[in-house]
């Protein structure tokens, strides 16, 4: 039997890395974690991911994978226990769709942009982020604990950053996005997510995140 040697190159505060870690933990796959300083990238990282030069990078028995959603699908296909994506092809397509939507509209160009922006740009970014979150709220209504029902899955991992990182960005950027009265299903889901055994003890400390993002905000003001 093939020996299972799994290494994960990551950065402590990267939500893209966290989602890979949760997937490995859920499947019970042991792995070696290698911390990267993304501001001073190692020769190893540049060799393993020359195209994007980013974390996470997963190395499984010499096989190298990059891009967190690609890695999640690999983990799901390679280790069959605790399936992450739904079985039905249409539900799978929906999960992939919403993961990409949230990545584009709430993460990359959404909340973090809103935290850094000033004046009109801030209003615009806030507006579009909240609009996007409304759609996610709609997807959660009547679903149960998680997006796929009672068990945690791919879409939860894709959006999980909202439950612990969004509050930090709101704090640091002095913005309000996640209003629990406006997004009750999302608020309930956030609470389920952070308390999940695979997630609970692996989150970076809040005070450390605050210091980090305050610094980044100053450096990346738009």
């Amino acid at each position: 039997m093939e020996s299972q040697e799994v290494k994960l190159l990551g950065f402590w505060v990267s939500p893209f890395v966290h989602r890979v870690e949760w997937a490995l933990k859920l499947k019970g796959v042991p792995y070696e974690y290698i911390e990267e300083d993304i501001f001073n990238k190692s020769p190893l990282l540049l060799e393993l991911n020359p195209v994007h030069k980013k974390v996470p990078v997963l190395v499984h028995n010499q096989k190298v994978l990059a891009e967190s959603f690609v890695i999640l699908e690999y983990i799901d296909e390679n280790w069959k226990q605790c399936p992450l994506l739904p079985q039905d092809p249409y539900d799978r397509a929906k999960a992939r769709f919403w993961a990409k939507f949230a990545e584009e509209k709430i993460l990359s160009d959404g909340a973090w942009r809103a935290a850094r922006a000033k004046g009109d740009n801030r209003e615009k970014a806030l507006g579009s982020t909240i609009e996007a979150l409304e759609k996610i709220e709609g997807e959660l209504k009547g679903k149960g604990k998680f997006f796929g029902g009672e068990s945690i899955g791919y879409l939860d991992l894709a959006l999980g950053w909202i439950s612990y990182m969004l509050p930090v960005w709101e704090d640091v950027g002095s913005i309000k996005i996640m209003d629990p009265t406006r997004f009750p299903a999302t608020a309930a889901w956030m609470s389920e997510f952070v308390n999940h055994p695979a997630v609970k003890d692996s989150l970076p400390p809040r005070d450390k995140m605050i210091i980090y993002f305050e610094k980044r905000l100053k450096e990346l003001e738009i």
């Binding site: 990059a66 891009e67 690609v70 699908e73 690999y74 296909e77 799978r92 990409k100």
Partner: protein
């Protein structure tokens, strides 16, 4: 999937994303579907209902249920249409599949946006965009290597990239450069793909695409020169 299934593809003839789906459908032997042309400046109520989030084509409607985002649709088709001895678009083993998904994602991130910067801008911005596009295509050329197609056999990554070949003429004309001069192997690959009927029947005429790009630029008030 069988003959009783209702399949509608909402598309726009010039869309490279729609072309991806058309190629995939043809590769999988799915010929019984309704192809509906959308006017992107005057979208149908059906499109707005089926893709309210993005309001974009392509959208595949399978027995009334919409699937959006081109490579998502391609994966979906690959998963539900397993018959007739037609090829799988993604390879069977997880690692090869993940490499295919990685490169399709790379193409999604790097190709269309850069091409649009070339066709819509002039001066410094256009120069930078041209450099970026050539760099991107060279990375893809290196990944292709000596293989006839990206996955060895024609498949997922080829489908993701080849529709942009129809746009080369527009980009070269408006950018005043020749892609083949910088990336001959990639252009050779594209021509190889075009020898397949599934591809040549699904791609628009590059000259018509160029006229379309000019038309859209005009509508957005972008000066040609």
């Amino acid at each position: 999937m069988n003959e009783k299934d209702e399949l509608i593809l909402l598309n726009s003839w010039a869309s490279p994303f729609g072309a991806r789906v058309r190629i995939a459908m043809a590769e999988k032997g799915i010929n019984q579907y309704e192809l509906r042309e959308e006017d992107l400046f005057s979208m149908s109520p059906l499109l707005l209902k089926m893709n309210p989030v993005h309001r974009k084509v392509p959208v595949l409607i399978h027995n009334g249920k919409p699937i959006c985002e081109s490579m998502n649709i391609v994966q979906y088709i690959d998963e539900v249409a397993v018959f007739n001895g037609k090829p799988a678009l993604l390879p069977p083993d997880p690692y090869s599949r993940s490499k295919a998904r990685f490169w399709a994602d790379f193409i999604d991130q790097k190709v269309y946006g850069t091409m649009r910067k070339i066709t819509r801008n002039r001066g410094e911005e256009q120069v930078r965009a041209k450099e970026e596009l050539i760099e991107t295509l060279k990375v893809l050329e290196r990944e292709l290597g000596e293989k006839p197609y990206f996955g060895g056999e024609f498949g997922f990554v080829d489908i993701a990239l080849v529709p942009f070949y129809s746009r080369f003429y527009a980009v070269e004309t408006l950018g005043n450069f020749r892609i083949e001069a910088e990336c001959p192997k990639l252009v050779a690959w594209a021509r190889r793909c075009l020898l397949k009927e599934t591809v040549s029947n699904s791609l628009p005429d590059p000259l018509k695409v160029y006229e379309w790009v000019l038309y859209v630029n005009d509508k957005f008030g972008i000066k040609q020169n």
